[in-house]
Amino acid sequence: MKFLSIVRRFAAFPMLAAITLVAAGCKSMIVFDPKGPVGSQQRDLIYFTVGLCLIVTVPVLLLMVWILWRFREKRSSEAPYQPEWSHSTKLEIIWWGVPVVLILVLAVVTGRYTHELDPAKPLRSDVRPVTVQVASLDWKWLFQYPDQGIATVNYLVIPEKTPIRFELTSDGPMNSFWVPQLGGMVYTMSGMATTLHLQADEPGSYMGTGANFTGREFAKMAFTTEAVKRADFDKWVADAKASGNALTEDSYRQLARPGTSGQLTFASISPGLFHKIVHEYSMSRGAPAGIGRKAITLSGGLATEHTEGGQLAPDSEPSVHAGHHGHMIHGSDSAQDQRK
């Protein structure tokens, strides 16, 4: 029964997949364990989509197994054989029609939810939103609280049951701001500010991460999001304000240099810093051009460079050969220096 075993093994494919998923599912996946209204709606939408898809996929897989079994070649097969049969309008109508109807349903639901869950749309709530201005730097996250006048690096504290309005930008390559348990991600891009509204329904510590590749230390762009009770939030803000560290334009430039960072807290922020970061890029400060300049190779720069694990960038000026970006942005003359 060679063919029998073949058919059986084919049936094992989806089984294998299912077993892997179920076994792994014992540990809950954080996208399916949302702690806020946005994440919850997105999870429900995912469940709905899966359910709708299963209406087609399960019968298809069962049908396949049955056909493979029934019409396999063997000596005394009673299964009908119609080598010329190649068209049936009735069947075609069914398998064009059913997917069309299902996709129509899904399209309507998607259209509704795309507007409902538009990240730029404020959440419905009686509580006044808290604004957090997010800037992805190389390779760390800067969070500014303009209303509270404080800032943090690589950790976020937010009050529970309060809508948070995130304004996102980037001082460097394009990244993406993602706290899976609160809701989906939005890109951070230099020269513009995107908006994302999220809310945490209960206190807890939620993982946050950068989701769009930005170069060498991209893997280090994780942050924690602490959702706390309102009183605790106010206390934390007061503590932060008392901590004494100021985020001036100078200390920002230091911070923005390529390198990783631990968690930092700033007691005050330079006014309008976020908008400066956004608008900095509307002007040209001389882009470096390759023509007429010695090409930079891996051996010439990157290979000899070492990572500054866990620390801010070193004080020394990056060398001309240093492969990472940033040094051309912050030094106004560096582009000229490059043209040796």
Binding site: S86, H87, Y281, T307
Partner: protein
């Protein structure tokens, strides 16, 4: 002097990594071995006459396939390095810089230098034979396309020992890929490697459209065209619409990098979003370009091994054409999270979902081709059947991703990685394997060992599910793509480890494939019938391997499954169809120009990568010179005499 030389060498070559030194040694040893062998066996003339200057579509096809399998090895080796680095938390196997280069080259090689040439190889082998043609419409252009691909791929590949590889992802998003983010030569290697091979791809698209439109045998109306040929047509239409976009986009990125323009920079009003839009206007059709021909292969294989006509021919053609057109209107689903606004996202979400309808219909048609057939399961059929559940699951996760608000939770996570590997491997690569095993006897004249082939199939498939199913889960657990390492605290270890095990199983599957080919070459079981599978279309009506001129007399087509019907007629004792009288066959002459011109392109690209205009300018002049030389060359064809045809046919039939 010596100091200068050492300085230059340590700047020019990639240094400081024992893996790279190992590769250097391997490359030098291999080159010496090849040169030695060619000289010792006096094969230089053979290499030049039979391969480097050939314009025969079958030879070009073989060169595509061999290159693609080599690239599969390199891309697969990259994949295993990535998986090793991710097998444990805080792993120190690859440094972040190295990891970034490896995932970039893995992506570029697998899509552009593995999937595309493997697909073009099958185009070249099968299309002219299926439509009863003597060659493609433009044999010279065909050879040029191949050499452009080959030297583009070489330019990209050499970056890992010279200068350093690209490390900004396979689509090289600015601002990271701009001078500010990637000052090294890696990005320029990427730009010129992809650019040169991309020009070749565009010309292949044009060539095969012309071939299919103009070169079909008499009687082969549109509705009698084999389904693989239809799929090639659909794919080529997408190629000529999409590849110019790639060329322009890369050219603009190069202008930014080389001349200091501000098109996609962070600085001076540049806008990276524009690049992301443009690159996906090519990139999304590109994934359908590679998967449509696989759909064509499945259609041929299913009908052959079910001994039954393909079900719903018209519906299949319509579905494929619909996919090829609609695929041009879905690009934005690769970045729903860019903040385009709800109306824009809704449009692209729905256009994406719509593609799942014709795709789903095709699955039903394949299933009903098998329904009331007589199924046998040699390797081409096994890969085809394995494709169905794989693509059903991959298609389902694709629909999940198309729901814009839900995509905000999937985007750039391992869920996405698992999805596109599932549809690209389970959709495209399985199809190419099926096609390769299916047409192998026609290409080389001998059969592949089925037992080892089945081992390769099972190991590869089990490895596939073990590798990619855990990635869906770990993606939903918040693991994002392209991170070079993760901590124990994340709880992603078990799933990543399983995935690595699966990756290595696929590697073992690949070794089985190599063993299968080597074993079959050694024991060379000849296909003496020309029709080892009980085929249905014209390519099975001629001897294996196909003669130089393919068809001694041009066949006259009266049915969709022409060869199957002819066999039915003969079995019923009816007379063989009347053939045309033999007459001299008009053939294209070999030409060295495609090979030389591609070298000139390579030189020009190499010069621009290193900012050496004194190399680049002569390179471009060489391109112009070879173009002119070809324009004034009138000695491009010859005739094969009737006697010669008779002699060759007799030789081929003797083995029948």
């Amino acid at each position: 002097m010596l100091d200068k030389l050492i300085n230059f060498a340590s700047w020019f070559f990639v240094t400081g990594d024992p893996l790279i030194y190992g590769a250097d040694v391997a490359i030098v040893v291999t080159v010496i071995a090849i040169v030695f062998a060619l000289t010792y066996f006096k094969k230089w003339g053979w290499l030049w006459r039979e391969w480097l200057t050939t314009v025969d579509h079958k030879r070009v096809g073989i060169m595509y396939i061999v290159s693609a399998l080599l690239m599969l090895f390199r891309g697969g080796f990259d994949a295993l390095m990535l998986r090793t680095q991710l097998s444990f938390p805080d792993m120190k196997f690859l440094s972040p810089e190295h990891y970034n280069q490896v995932f970039t080259t893995h992506g570029v090689i697998m899509i552009l230098f593995m999937a595309m040439p493997l697909m073009f190889g099958l185009f070249n082998i099968a299309v002219p034979l299926q439509i009863g043609a003597r060659d493609v419409a433009f044999p010279f252009l065909n050879a040029l396309s191949f050499w452009l691909f080959f030297f583009g791929a070489m330019l990209f590949n050499m970056s890992f020992v010279i200068g350093g590889s690209a490390d900004a992802g396979w689509l090289s998003y600015p601002p990271l890929s701009e001078m500010t983010g990637s000052p090294g030569v890696g990005e320029d290697f990427y730009i010129w490697g992809v650019q040169i091979s991309g020009i070749g791809s565009l010309m292949t698209g044009i060539n095969f459209i012309a071939t299919i439109v103009k070169m079909r045998a008499p009687g082969m109306s549109w509705s009698r065209m084999p389904m693989f040929t239809w799929s090639v047509l659909a794919s080529c239409i997408a190629i000529i619409a999409a590849f110019p976009v790639l060329t322009v986009t890369l050219a603009l990125l190069f202008v930014d990098r080389y001349l200091g323009a501000h098109i996609f920079t962070m600085d001076g009003g540049g806008n990276a979003m524009m690049y992301v839009n443009l690159i996906w206007m090519w990139g999304h059709p590109e994934v359908y370009i590679v998967v449509l021909p696989a759909f064509g292969v499945y259609s041929e294989v299913v009908a052959t091994f079910s001994k039954k006509r393909l079900f719903g021919y018209a519906s299949m053609v319509f579905a494929m054409m619909a996919i090829s057109v609609v695929s041009y209107y879905t690009w934005l689903h690769h970045f729903f999270t860019m903040g385009s606004g709800a109306n824009v996202n809704t449009f692209f979400a729905i256009s994406t979902m719509i593609i799942s309808i014709p795709t789903g219909v095709k699955i039903f048609n394949w299933l009903f081709t098998m329904y009331r057939g007589r199924l046998s399961f040699p390797t081409p059929m096994l890969w085809t059947i394995a494709f169905i559940p794989c693509f059903v699951i991959g298609g389902m996760t694709g629909v999940m991703l198309s729901v814009a608000p839900a995509d905000f939770q999937f985007h750039n996570s391992y869920f996405l990685i698992a999805h596109f590997h599932q549809v690209l491997i389970g959709g495209a690569v399985f199809g190419y394997f099926a096609g390769l095993f299916y047409w192998w006897p026609k290409i080389f004249g001998f059969k592949l060992n089925e037992t080892i082939g089945k081992w390769a199939f099972w190991v590869w498939n089990i490895g596939f599910y073990v590798c990619f199913m855990p990635q869906y889960v770990v993606g939903l657990d918040g693991m994002t793509r392209r991170i070079s390492t993760y901590g124990w605290d994340k709880g992603w270890w078990g799933l990543n480890f399983a995935s690595t095990v699966g990756g290595f199983l696929m590697g073992i599957g690949f070794l089985f494939l190599v063993w299968q080919i080597a074993h079959s070459i050694k024991f060379m079981e000849m296909d003496t019938t020309g029709d080892p599978w009980g085929g249905r279309t014209l390519e099975w009506s001629i001897p294996s391997p196909a003669p130089l001129y393919n068809f001694a007399t041009t066949p006259i087509v009266t049915d969709r499954d022409e060869w199957w019907e002819e066999k039915q007629r003969m079995a019923a004792g009816k007379a063989e169809k009347k053939r045309q009288e033999l007459s001299p066959i008009h053939m294209p002459k070999n030409s060295a120009i495609p090979f030389l011109q591609a070298i000139c392109w390579f030189t020009a690209g190499f010069g621009l990568v290193f900012h050496w205009l004194w190399i680049a300018i002569p390179g471009f002049l060489g391109v112009a010179a070879t173009l002119l030389a070809h324009s004034f060359n009138y000695d491009t064809d010859y005739y094969i005499s009737v006697d010669e045809i008779k002699r060759r046919e007799a030789a081929a039939r003797r083995t029948v």
